[in-house]
Symmetry: C2
Subunit: 317 residues, 2 copies
Amino acid sequence: MEFFDKVGKAALGSRLRLMTAVVTDDAAKIYELYGVEFVPKWFPVFYTLAEEREITITEIANEIGHSQPSVSKIIQEMIGAGLIKESAKTDDKRKNNVVLTEKGILISKKIKQQLEDIDVAIEDIIAESKHNLWAALEEWEFLLEQKSLIKRVSEQKKKRESKDVKIVNYKTEYQEAFRALNVEWISKYFEMEEADYKALDNPEEYIIKKGGKILVALYENEPVGVCALIKMNNSEYDFEMAKMAVSPKAQGKSIGWLLGKAIAEKAKELGAKKIYLESNTILKPAINLYYKLGFEKVFGLETPYKRCNIQMELVLG
Amino acid sequence: MEFFDKVGKAALGSRLRLMTAVVTDDAAKIYELYGVEFVPKWFPVFYTLAEEREITITEIANEIGHSQPSVSKIIQEMIGAGLIKESAKTDDKRKNNVVLTEKGILISKKIKQQLEDIDVAIEDIIAESKHNLWAALEEWEFLLEQKSLIKRVSEQKKKRESKDVKIVNYKTEYQEAFRALNVEWISKYFEMEEADYKALDNPEEYIIKKGGKILVALYENEPVGVCALIKMNNSEYDFEMAKMAVSPKAQGKSIGWLLGKAIAEKAKELGAKKIYLESNTILKPAINLYYKLGFEKVFGLETPYKRCNIQMELVLG
DNA sequence: ATTAATTATATAATTAGTTATGCAAATGTA
DNA sequence: TACATTTGCATAACTAATTATATAATTAAT
């Protein structure tokens, strides 16, 4: 199908669907060829019953990877066709154990030869093909169970988008964004405090002129994240990382990570050995990010912020 | 899925269906991730329209391998969603040409990035897997188009069953079968003639005692095919192959071919250089078989049978 | 110039699965 | 021991496709 070459791998689903249709259409004809009165969709259920002596509907569903209602319906059809019957041998009255009838056992014998022929026919295709579809399905089942397609795509999206994020130095034109992005999360989770207003309304005076730095993350030339490195009056720490904010609209692009890394780099350039931060444990994604960046908990410093209930430091390598 | 290992390749259809479900389920989530209001099943149709400027429903169906009603419904849904519109630019009033709307074009741009991400994600799976599912699907599409699964299985069935066919010499206990199998086809297509009754009622006297042979094909120890080698009074031919009959119930096991081969072998053992036969062209499968066995048309011999309108000979190698 | 066959589409019915939901039986827990 | 939770199953409603069939427009054939 030429179509698939043009579209690319995104058409994997469509391609699978077509192949499924081709194979299952022929499956029906194969039963006919062998003169077995049998509906192909019964096959997985039937096979399970031929193997196990007696088994419940839910167990069958789990074994063959169908939903329980699907098996439930198939069982009813097969009972109608006289291939299986309910077997009362159970103390748990919710359970509906089923077994093959005489007729079912007969058909299972008939089908045995058919299965072997199909097996040989498919083995032949495998032998004449370069790429083993059967083995590929088995392998992909495993790989997609390990990490689903949606997860893989979302990781790729993040990776690509974070490439388009630029971290730049603060300019006056970003003051509005610096203020707005911070006000957004602070007032959502806490209340704006005196110290916040000072720094956000006048960052050049309160942060940069005192020897600090502000970095801005740009995505498509819009400021979507900010973070400050604030000069401290403390014997142990030269700088505090603070006022980190990322627009909710720009989440999933690793912007926090990129800002954090850049701030740490900046601090190192300025000769710092360690940087300090204050936060609150209700901000779980933020705390997580700090750990990922290498911060560790410390205790005991004084702070002007009511909302601070966790203090951390990062030793610069 | 352990189930598949037990069942063998016959579960290829089930395995494909499960993989299709896994992939298409995630497809829906992927559109959501990218914030595109889009139903995955629209994708092949949408993609075709994004490529071609303007195209009819049937053309789309052919291109993407769906049925026409399927595309017809999808088109209606997409018109409802405002992604495409009918374009009246056609003289053939049966046709329903469709194109993307402004909104459709916008979404196609949005989706482009998404497609690239999926492409990379799937390429990554291909890279980390030993068996390339994408390439396997492509190859199997080709192989199954060349020779369908049903054809491959039916060939395998024939091959296996013809192994279970035994060709044995005539014994008195097979007289009834020899008669019945021949009467069945002769009276179906023609009328029984005097010469038929003689040979069939008393084969030992009319065939074997005169230096001829009869071979019987047994399947599951039942006689299901017969063929005679009859001594001729002719300077050119020593033997005639005649009274070949195969039970309709045993068709598809190459019994005719096995009998023909065995008769030719027998004739060679008896020192014949050529064998002769008479038939009628309305028996197309039989004539076909004779050609396959190496017989060629000849002309001019006299025959006691009304039904004879073709004469053939096989030069024994 | 009719009539028959073909083509393009739409609609209806069917298929093989899925979720969602409800009910009864069994199990766990305070 | 009573009550909440879990389990097993059936039923209903939905989904994404299919085949079968109807209708209108076009093309081919007498």
